[in-house]
């Protein structure tokens, strides 16, 4: 079991406000121009490292041309109200993740009950992930000799995580924060003594099922 300390909504807002202020951006102005503000990723789950960005989905009000400020330490993802209702969005890996693990600081997030419910065959998020893995493996093959050992390790870790995500997407499970993927890999590695190869196993970690805030989606 981990000793996770999940931040309160107030703490998340305080962090966003502080980082925005440092960048000369008025966070309350962003909040006033959107219908939904959702924190997702590792910080929403209290699984961040000191280097983790604060991932925030900003759903813009219909018809409002909103600037897209850049704030160091915050990864802002902008979508319109129409976009988050689209099938393309609802089927996406990001929508599935946010629906399951997102923390709504503003707005109702009614769309989240439709996320993944519209997923049909073929599983487009899984197909997109398969394409990404293929391109990543090819790039690694092409540039391997020019990478330092640390970069090789780092890219192999990325590849391992993406394979985990593919396995989850194929199983219809929302993608958890990255730290949980690493814990899953460590768990499998310790149990099976075969590291990355354990990803080909079929067992899914209980921790993934325990963590999602929307059980019906997993």
């Amino acid at each position: 079991m981990t000793n996770r300390q999940v931040p309160t909504d107030k703490e998340l807002v305080a962090r966003a406000t502080m980082l925005a202020c440092r960048a000369g951006v008025d966070w309350s102005l962003i909040a006033s121009q959107c219908t939904e503000l959702v924190v997702f990723g590792s910080r929403a789950a209290g699984l961040e490292t000191p280097f983790s960005d604060l991932d925030v989905l900003v759903v813009r009000k219909r018809g409002l041309a909103m600037p897209r400020p850049r704030v160091r330490g915050i990864d802002l993802v902008f979508r319109t109200e129409d976009e988050i209702l689209s099938v393309e969005w609802l089927k996406s890996e990001m929508a599935g993740h946010i629906a399951a693990y997102g923390r709504w600081l503003q707005g109702s997030g009614r769309w989240r009950n439709n996320a993944w419910a519209v997923r049909g065959e073929p599983n487009e998020a899984a197909e997109a992930k398969r394409r990404r893995i293929s391109r990543l493996a090819e790039a690694l093959h092409n540039h391997w000799d020019r990478l330092t050992p640390d970069f090789r390790r780092r890219n192999l870790t990325t590849l391992r995580r993406e394979k985990q995500r593919l396995q989850l997407l194929q199983s219809g499970i929302a993608i958890p924060p990255t730290r949980l993927l690493d814990m899953w890999a460590e768990h499998n590695s310790a149990r099976n003594c075969c590291g990355v190869h354990a990803l080909s196993g079929t067992d899914l970690p209980e921790i993934l099922l325990e963590t999602a805030t929307q059980p019906e989606l997993v």
């Binding site: 990723g41 991932d55 993740h97 391109r135 790039a139 330092t148 780092r154 890219n155 990325t158």
Partner: protein, 141 residues
Amino acid sequence: MAKSKTAAESLSVICDELRSFLEAFDPGDAEDAQVRTGALISSMIRAGVLKESPSVKNFRLHIAMERVHLPVPNREEIVARAEMFHDLVNSYGGEPDEDDMEMARTLLEEIADALISAISVRMKKGQASLHMSDGIGEETE
């Protein structure tokens, strides 16, 4: 003399890496850009103008640009562009849209211009054999 030539060659490898990165840049292939970014930073480390760090965060291009021991013009601006480049090619889910990748290409061109200019200055000054211990760098931390 031999050491100097080796250092100069190492610096020219960075230029080659940048040119190859730009020539091969494909807006439909963010993964290639991600791995090539690693190859670019690797070339800086091998040339002795960037210190390897155990921190994963320091593998990012903007951190490399902040710390590289070369006289990068308008360093602060270039660091900001490199950070934007990182964000654009590393979107959640791994499939950035082509507009973002086109913007990333423009940013990479600016970063490459600055780096190649810095390398050129260093080589012209005949300082190619100097390493970071010579105190020429502009390490920020």
